[in-house]
């Protein structure tokens, strides 16, 4: 016989009391481990969630950024494409040029060619690519038809800006560029020689169909055109390109040009290209503001989400902070009462064991052995139960990653490892006083009855 054996026998004899002790410890440990597991699971899930949301947001923002970039690129591309050749959208005319007259019959008023040089030497910023031109609707007697004759000199550089690649090449003397209709009707191709108003020209370029006056236009050198039309040193218009098409900048352009060239007027030529470019600019703007909104709202969403999770975690932590100590104390009290009852029940056997020579500390040992058994069993069961409950309440999936994350910080493991020690301590401390009381029982009092 050993004290331990005695304890085991007693446990088997009074199963219910032992079971209740084990349940108490199990509850306490399960509560502790469960709470710890749950809190840790909360953290893991929060991290998961926030990571997922973050990457979701990042993807969405990246998509939006891509569309902004694309809109920008499209815009630039469109500007470049459409401005090239057709790009002149600003027309500087003599003040006396009637617009209805111009639209009906072409330009008639003139201004000195030197205006363009004056503009080129100015500090103008709102426009670009200055092109002086004469433009008249004239007869082509050799072919018995009317054409729009445009004489151009090539772009006049704006001096303070440095050279830019011209939108339009100068038409050299003796060369001619023809519009689509003319080319088609007269069956012309590059390199052909034609006679125009008694002058010979070589076709240097034929334009594709544009569906505008351009299709019936003939471009020749400005000087030649001036001479042909008796307009030496005079021009009808200066074509220019607005620097930035977005927004209403025409008033700014007008103000600037008026300051440099009084007695002129500025007309903004509507062009589909411009409209399209503006639409694209708008699209870019829309995409940009959508991006900004997306960034803002997703940031807010992340913050809200994080706050929500934090709130949940705090709730859980607060609940655990109240529940765990409560259950621990409750279990301790239960175990104490169970041990006390047990000590009462065992008065007789303790009396006789003392009488046959067992020492007080052996009696204490009997009780503490039982307490240890309760602590170990309750501790192990509690860990298992608490872990399962915490896991399932925490809503983790059962994959390897979650498991690893759960134990990524050592504190859950520490709790689990220290739980049996806690269980032993709980059971031992709660049983200590009853054990002591049992050992102090006077065997004489017990045995006197016999």
């Amino acid at each position: 016989m050993t004290v331990w054996r005695l304890a085991i026998r007693e446990i088997r004899h009074r199963k219910l009391s032992f079971l209740m002790g084990v349940i108490s410890v199990t509850t306490a440990v399960a509560c502790l481990v469960g709470a710890k597991t749950l809190l840790r699971a909360d953290r893991v899930i929060t991290d998961h969630l926030m990571q997922a949301k973050q990457s979701e947001v990042e993807t969405a923002i990246a998509a939006k950024e891509e569309s902004v970039k694309q809109a920008g690129a499209e815009l630039e591309d469109a500007m470049r494409k459409h401005m090239k050749g057709l790009g002149f959208n600003i027309l500087i005319l003599p003040e006396e040029q009637s617009r209805s007259e111009m639209l009906l019959n072409g330009m008639s008023a003139t201004m000195p060619e030197s205006y363009v040089d004056k503009l080129g030497q100015s500090k103008i910023v709102t426009i670009n690519h200055l092109l002086p031109s004469v433009s008249q609707r004239v007869q082509w007697p050799e072919h018995d038809r009317e054409v729009m004759l445009i004489g151009t000199r090539g772009e006049v550089p704006i001096q303070h800006r440095g050279l830019k690649k011209p939108l339009l090449e100068e038409v050299a003397e003796g060369k001619m560029v023809v519009g689509y209709e003319i080319q088609k009707e007269l069956e012309l191709k590059v390199g052909d020689t034609v006679t125009f108003r008694e002058h010979d020209f070589t076709i240097s370029e034929v334009h594709p169909e544009r569906g505008s006056t351009d299709d019936v236009t003939v471009w020749i050198n400005l000087g030649q055109a001036q001479e042909m039309l008796g307009m030496q040193n005079l021009i009808n218009a200066i074509l220019a390109l607005e620097c930035d098409c977005a927004g209403d900048r025409i008033s700014a352009i007008r103000a600037e040009i008026e300051g440099i060239l009084p007695g002129t007027q500025v007309v903004e030529k509507f062009s589909q290209a411009l409209a399209r470019a503006e639409a694209r600019a708008k699209a870019k703007e829309t995409a940009e503001s959508a991006l900004a909104r997306e960034k803002e709202s997703s940031q807010a969403m992340l913050v809200r989400e994080e706050q929500g999770r934090q709130h949940l975690e705090q709730q859980h932590a607060g609940f655990a902070a109240v529940l765990v100590p409560l259950v621990l104390v409750g279990s301790a009290v239960t175990i104490f009462l169970l041990a006390l009852t047990n000590a009462r029940q065992r008065t007789e056997e303790i009396g006789i064991l003392r009488a046959v020579g067992l020492q007080a500390r052996q009696i204490i040992l009997v009780f503490l052995s039982k307490a240890a058994a309760i602590g170990i069993m309750g501790g192990l069961l509690g860990i298992g139960l608490g872990y399962c409950v915490g896991w399932s309440l925490g809503g983790l999936s059962s994959n390897q990653l979650d498991w690893q994350l759960l134990f990524a910080t050592g504190d859950l493991l520490t709790t689990i490892i220290s739980a049996p020690i806690l269980a032993l301590a709980l059971s031992g401390i709660a049983s200590w006083l009853p054990a002591l009381m049992a050992a102090q029982k006077d065997p004489a009092v017990v045995l006197q009855g016999g």
């Binding site: 005695l6 064991l353 020579g357 067992l358 016999g450």
Partner: protein, 227 residues
């Protein structure tokens, strides 16, 4: 002298009254002697026996077991002393309810760290001698009264004590079982042990070599007799 009781007194005091349970009793039992203390209920028999057994310190007077005053020892040493020298048998048997016959018999061995196997052999011998061999794995609840008391007797003898203190051991037994038990006690004395039996049962007294009468805590010299 194996048991020497010299002028011991014991008084129980509570809020209402003072009871002189044992009053200046002297008694000597030599090895091989079987002494019965007879007296009416409440005469102080159990009190005297507990004092003799080192379980209850007398208010005054002296107890010596085999020349040693158990009350001069520290509690642990006294428990040890009891385990080695004194066997107890009670009317209520006082068996540990969840231990088998064998385990109950072996219980005193816990107090005396000795050779495990040797104690076990002795326990089995005692069980056999008391006719409990086919009951040795039974718990007390499944035993008859006689079997229980024989188990208690075997337990008392396990550590080969010099003195057996029996408090009304036949109180819960029928005649046959009582006779058997008293026979064992007589055998123990015959083998050189000392027996102090306290009882009010005349038949039990008949087995003793010497009878001491106790009345109101005092030895009644008038009826002192020897068998």
């Amino acid at each position: 002298m194996l048991l020497l009781i010299d002028g011991v007194s014991r008084t129980y005091t509570d809020a209402h009254s003072t009871v002189h349970a044992v009053d200046d009793v002297s008694l000597q039992i030599a090895a091989g002697e079987f002494v019965a203390v007879q007296g009416a209920s409440g005469s102080g028999k159990s009190t005297l026996l507990l004092m003799a057994g080192g379980l209850l310190k007398p208010d005054s007077g002296q107890v010596q077991v085999d020349g040693q005053d158990p009350y001069g020892l520290k509690p642990d040493a006294r428990a040890d002393f009891r385990a080695q020298n004194i066997g107890f048998v009670f009317q209520q048997f006082h068996l540990v309810p969840y231990l088998s016959v064998l385990e109950n018999v072996l219980a005193p061995a816990m107090a005396v760290p000795g050779t495990e196997a040797e104690t076990r052999d002795r326990a089995l011998q005692l069980i056999e001698r008391f006719g409990l061999s086919d009951r040795q794995q039974h718990v007390p609840a499944k035993l008859s009264s006689g079997e229980r008391q024989r188990t208690a007797m075997a337990r008392a003898l396990l550590n080969q004590p010099k003195l057996i203190l029996a408090d009304e051991p036949t109180g819960n037994l029928d005649h046959d079982n009582a006779d058997t038990l008293l026979g064992y006690l007589a055998d123990f004395a015959a083998d050189g042990g000392a027996v102090l039996l306290v009882t009010h049962d005349d038949r039990a007294v008949a087995c003793a070599q010497r009878v001491v009468h106790l009345q109101n805590g005092r030895i009644d010299q008038a009826v002192a007799s020897s068998a």
